[in-house]
Assembly symmetry: C2
Homo-oligomer: 386 residues x 2
Amino acid sequence: MAAKTPKKQARGAQESEQRKLGENAEQKSPAKDRLVGLGTQLTAQLAKGQQPTIEIPVRSLSNVEFNEDTQKLGIGEKTSERQFFNVAHAKKFLQTIEVAAIAKTQLLDSGKHASLRDVFYMAKRTIPGTKTNVVDDQRESDKALEDLELITGFSREQLHINANKMGSVAGRVVIEDSGDTIDWSRLGSGGWSIPSNVEEITFRKVDAKYVIYMEKQAVWERLHEDRFWQKQNCIIVTSQGQTTRGIRRLLQRLSVEHKLPIYVLTDNDPWGIYIYSVIKYGSISLAHMSEGLAISGVKFLGVTCDDVEDYKLERHYITLTDQDIARLKQMQEYEWFKDNPAWQRQFKMMLKAKAKVEIQSLSARGITFISDTYLPEKIKKAEYIE
Amino acid sequence: MAAKTPKKQARGAQESEQRKLGENAEQKSPAKDRLVGLGTQLTAQLAKGQQPTIEIPVRSLSNVEFNEDTQKLGIGEKTSERQFFNVAHAKKFLQTIEVAAIAKTQLLDSGKHASLRDVFYMAKRTIPGTKTNVVDDQRESDKALEDLELITGFSREQLHINANKMGSVAGRVVIEDSGDTIDWSRLGSGGWSIPSNVEEITFRKVDAKYVIYMEKQAVWERLHEDRFWQKQNCIIVTSQGQTTRGIRRLLQRLSVEHKLPIYVLTDNDPWGIYIYSVIKYGSISLAHMSEGLAISGVKFLGVTCDDVEDYKLERHYITLTDQDIARLKQMQEYEWFKDNPAWQRQFKMMLKAKAKVEIQSLSARGITFISDTYLPEKIKKAEYIE
């Protein structure tokens, strides 16, 4: 995967090794080694009569920073210690170790994967001799897992804990996954269903010039039926609404490992711009994972406020809600947008029009207008926003 | 759409003919013939100086009936006339004809498909010489399309208008779709992404004893990773939440064309039971399409209130909300549940416990407990509710 900082190179090495191991990933994995290392460290502290202590970078908003060099959101320098013999820390300490134990013993050891919800139920056991559960609410096990990502430097997917499964992909790409060879260009009208975890897939052949990620499944079905990926030699990817972590990692791997430009295609509204923002810069809530998920160089293909004029979509304007306006004003101030004239111009145009436009309004120009005219023109003229 | 038996056979015939036509469906299709017939009828009325009139079965709740014979929700005998020269009818009349024209000219003629949202934008044109749009809101074009389903006896999918795309499938099945041959058993961890419209897929090989449809993608990933479909020789299907029309038709085709039993697997809560209810009996809002979508003989596999006791899931109880309780009481009174002692017993048990249980609570018993123990036991003992 990715370049620049040492941490990132380490992650890349881990990943390619993990993928090479393939089916045997359960016998040996760097993530497992790291968890065992963590356990060894804690038992060593105990053996020496020391207090078991973990150092964790602070994840509160005050420690979320935009890194100008990497152009990604990240966690700052502040760290805190979590001590076992501390009334304020003991339960969180236990929860973190419990989730580490589940990842190691129940998942990595067996080569199995689990969902966040599964992990919650696995951790929800009563502490012997008490009436207290290790966790009572999924938010607790989720937080413990996020801490574990920070402590170990491994993503939850590498710890075999999966987020949501969503979305479809098509294009001239052949992959290997779980022992199957899968040709993304030969999967009928449905396409390949993207798994929640794409860490272990191997790209065998990637014959494409770029990737379009779109917010809406219906737009994907439009482009797929029109064989857009075949005519344009690209890869088309969709989730539905917010982009899943699995899809973000899939896009990142295509960007980093195959140097493919990634274009984002959404409605012309604050939500669409935020989808782009998260894919490119990372999200505030998962800032600690931005290095593993954010993709520099992603371009916003549309629908832009200029498109609304160029393609005469004004008659399909939908008035901005108060919430939309507040969201736009908030995004105008984001560090990664505030010195970007192209984006500032878009924000101003949308606020001035007080209106948003859906991508499917292009259908008013004809059912295949998006495939035959809009997208080829935009790509040919390099009309995107960065 | 339509009446009880004869028309249903007609639909079956239409479908298999349409599938045989395959790639040439755009040149000749029974759905297109029916739309042309509708237009011819209206122009003939005009030529004779008669008022253009369409007869439409009434779709209001008062005309939704549960048919004891077919065990499906359906539309009763009440019909109404829609007349063009009637101030109260003119706009709806126009909207229905507009949607019919879009389906015929822009979709069936070209062999293309569109989403409901696309059709809305295509219909949202200004009537020449006026400032009035044919439709201003998607609800209008959706309603017009539902009327058109009733008038023509063809589903929106047969008219090439697709609902949502969602969900994944795996199993020992080979299909043909859009010129590709797709083996559902060789698609890695992702599976085949189910399209919004499955009318034109052809089953080439179906080597499975039954189908499990599950509400949650995460449960599907669990069973898929455990190769449950391979060990049990079954097909596993999921959407996420409410079942899409595409998946309901896929299940129906597997049930009707391949005589496979269909099992439904959801949380133990009112929403899960309602998912089962819609798949089996049809939904009130789409009662006119129940014949094309509902699947008699579907069985509810779990999680049942008995499972909660048998598998000791009480410690994972989640208290029912007031809304849950109201929903359960409403379902108790549904015609298709009220004389069913097995379901009445379930409702009473859930109301007595005042609690629901999630399927993923089985993970507390071990990550593969659901695949290794729970489901094999349930199926072996035929512990399902009908």
